[in-house]
């Protein structure tokens, strides 16, 4: 009987537990988290803050999860892992306990970046990632009227959603020339920015916050341009980084995140990693990437769980898959969005708030940006991207028709599936 130790208590960790238990009933599983409570999703904090769900509803599984899967939970600040002894196969907890393992999964996720600027740690200047962060912001928002959100990425956007829903007067400051610089393109960003104007969000692009000062509880943000913004509360949403500062001395290879292979294994025998804290090869670009997204966390976790449970398994997908809804506009992106380097973006829909841009590398589809109705195609386009098809006709066909029809036809033709799909050969020739 093996003893599996899992550090972390969110999507990557719980998915690993669930899939490990599909192949191994008897092994011992210990789950360690520095946060007390049942598993919750950091992706839900802004839904809680907007009033769309209760605090408790962020916890997508309750304590019965541990019992159901026969997991021993070690939860709370005293249980934070402070060191990994890879040679001795044990982890040391903050309270001094040593927990031995046969194999170990590190699924500790991300943590917020706290910028080093003057005033970045003043009371009333908050970050948002954990459930505790969300509760603090909820408290501060009870009295605050004017809220400034620093950062135009996913957390920034979702925080603006929540604050607008609560009737706050919102200012958002982004360093780059558009919102959602990673998961959206410039034209898509304009659609979001137009929606911001409609709702009355004061969006300041290409502005950097130089310092924050406190004047009788009121925050004064001074921008690099010299402009000043006053706020009752500031949310710093400038990004997250892997939460891996306890790895010293373990010999685990890190390149921004913990480097894992397609079996979620690290370079150290018996140690796996999954989710936001891991760096894995993007299946589309071939580049080592840290995906701080749920789809990567669950796939890394699923594969880690199966391998730990004794079933050698490689992951099936690893690409960017994003969805977000800034002020009610359904947006998403799949695959690679960067143009240049021989990649070409083609806008095939751009009217009435609907937007669909496809990114090609030669004849091969590598990415898509979708807003409004075209978002329904996101899943199919992701499949098409993953299939790496290079039909010379594909580009023009995709520009005209839906993704699905091409997907099906190519599926039938290129993979010789005609017989399996019971399609007479003459129909696919």
């Amino acid at each position: 009987m093996k003893r599996h130790v899992i550090i972390g208590n969110s999507h990557a960790a719980t998915t690993a537990v669930e899939w490990l238990r599909k192949v191994s009933d008897s092994d011992e599983v210990v789950l360690i988290s520095r946060e007390d409570g049942s598993p919750y999703s950091p992706a839900l904090t802004t839904y809680y803050l907007s009033g769309k769900m209760s605090y408790e509803q962020m916890f997508y599984l309750d304590y019965s999860f541990y019992k159901k899967h026969n997991v021993e939970p070690l939860l709370g600040a005293g249980k934070a892992v402070v060191q990994i002894d890879a040679a001795g196969k044990a982890v040391t907890l903050a309270d001094g306990t040593s927990v031995p393992y046969d194999d170990l999964l590190i699924a500790t996720g991300s943590k917020s970046i706290v910028p080093s600027m003057d005033g970045g740690r003043l009371p009333g200047v908050l970050t948002l990632w954990t459930a505790e962060d969300a509760r603090k912001i909820d408290d501060a928002a009870q009295t605050a009227k004017r809220v400034t959100v620093v950062g135009g990425g996913l957390i920034g956007i979702q925080t603006v959603n929540a604050m607008v829903a609560r009737g706050k007067q919102v200012t958002q400051i982004e360093m780059l020339s558009r919102v959602m610089p990673v998961a959206m393109d410039a034209d898509g960003g304009k659609i979001i920015e137009a929606r911001y104007r409609d709702v009355g969000v004061d969006l300041r692009l290409e502005q950097r916050v130089d310092r924050i000062e406190d004047s009788n509880g009121q925050k004064i943000l001074t921008l690099a341009s010299g402009d000043q913004v006053e706020a009752d509360m500031v949310v710093m949403a400038v990004g997250v980084v892997p939460n891996i500062d306890f790895l010293d001395g373990a010999g685990i290879k890190v390149d921004r995140g913990i480097v894992i292979d397609d079996h979620s294994k690290t370079n150290v025998e018996g140690i796996y990693a999954a989710g936001d804290c891991a760096a894995s090869v993007d299946a589309i670009s071939g580049e080592l990437s840290v995906f701080a997204i749920i789809p990567a966390a669950t796939e890394h976790g699923r594969v880690a769980g199966l391998n730990m449970g004794g079933l050698p398994t490689a992951r099936l997908r690893n690409l960017g898959l994003n969805s977000f809804t800034p002020l009610g506009v359904p947006c998403g992106s799949v695959g690679i969005l960067d143009e240049g380097n021989g990649r070409e973006g083609i806008i095939t829909v751009n009217s009435g708030g609907d937007y669909r841009k496809l990114i090609f590398e030669g004849d091969r589809l590598v990415g898509a940006v979708l807003i409004g109705k075209p978002l329904d195609e996101g899943g199919l386009l992701a499949s098409l991207i993953e299939m790496r098809l290079t039909d010379p006709k594909l580009k023009s066909e995709l520009q005209q028709g839906s993704a699905a029809m091409n997907y099906i036809r190519l599926l039938a033709q290129e993979k010789g599936l005609a017989s399996e799909l019971a399609i007479p050969a003459r129909w696919t020739s």
Binding site: K22, I294, L316, T325, E377, G379, A404, L421
Partner: protein, 166 residues
């Protein structure tokens, strides 16, 4: 064994009766845009395929649902949708390999098999859709019910029956 919709694409004539039936069953109106089964056409190849939830063995929609509004039912093997839990985050839409989960009016929508009596099956005059036990994948943990870029190919949705004779 999981029961689900079995598609025989060779019988499909793209009449869209399934879409009519689906919207009638779920919305009480005939509006194919609200159908949970979607006809995909490729006229050039005379190829039609009613795309619908495949009750995947690896249900990416459910794996990625942060509120567990989508969940693989351990009893039936089917992927259930619990509307009360849906927060309209669209992750199911971008992660379903078939595009079989769409979001409309702030809620995800997917095939619920009409509680075991699928209307699309009843309305399909040519026998392209049937309701029955999905074939057991060779290795239920490895086999994907959708096409991968490896040679380990498993059909999109299970297919039964013979091709029609011309």
């Amino acid at each position: 064994m999981t029961k689900g919709l079995l598609i025989n694409a060779s019988r499909c004539i793209a009449c869209r009766a399934c879409e009519v039936a689906c919207s009638l069953s779920h919305e009480g109106e005939i509006d194919p845009s609200k159908s949970l089964i979607g006809m995909q056409l490729f006229n050039e190849a005379y190829f039609y395929y009613p795309m619908v939830c495949a009750q995947c063995e690896i249900p990416y929609c459910a794996l990625n649902c942060p509120t567990r509004a989508l969940e693989k039912n351990p009893e039936t093997g089917q992927v259930d949708f619990i509307a009360d839990k849906c927060i309209n985050c669209n992750l199911c839409t971008v992660t379903c390999p078939f595009g079989a989960v769409t979001v409309r009016d702030g809620l995800a929508h997917k095939c619920d098999l009409c509680d075991g009596d699928p209307w699309c099956v009843k309305f399909c005059e040519v026998g392209a859709i049937s309701y029955g036990e999905l074939p057991e994948p060779a290795d239920h943990l490895r086999a994907l019910p959708y096409l991968r870029f490896t040679d380990e190919v498993v059909p999109l949705t299970p297919v039964t029956g013979d091709a029609p004779t011309a």
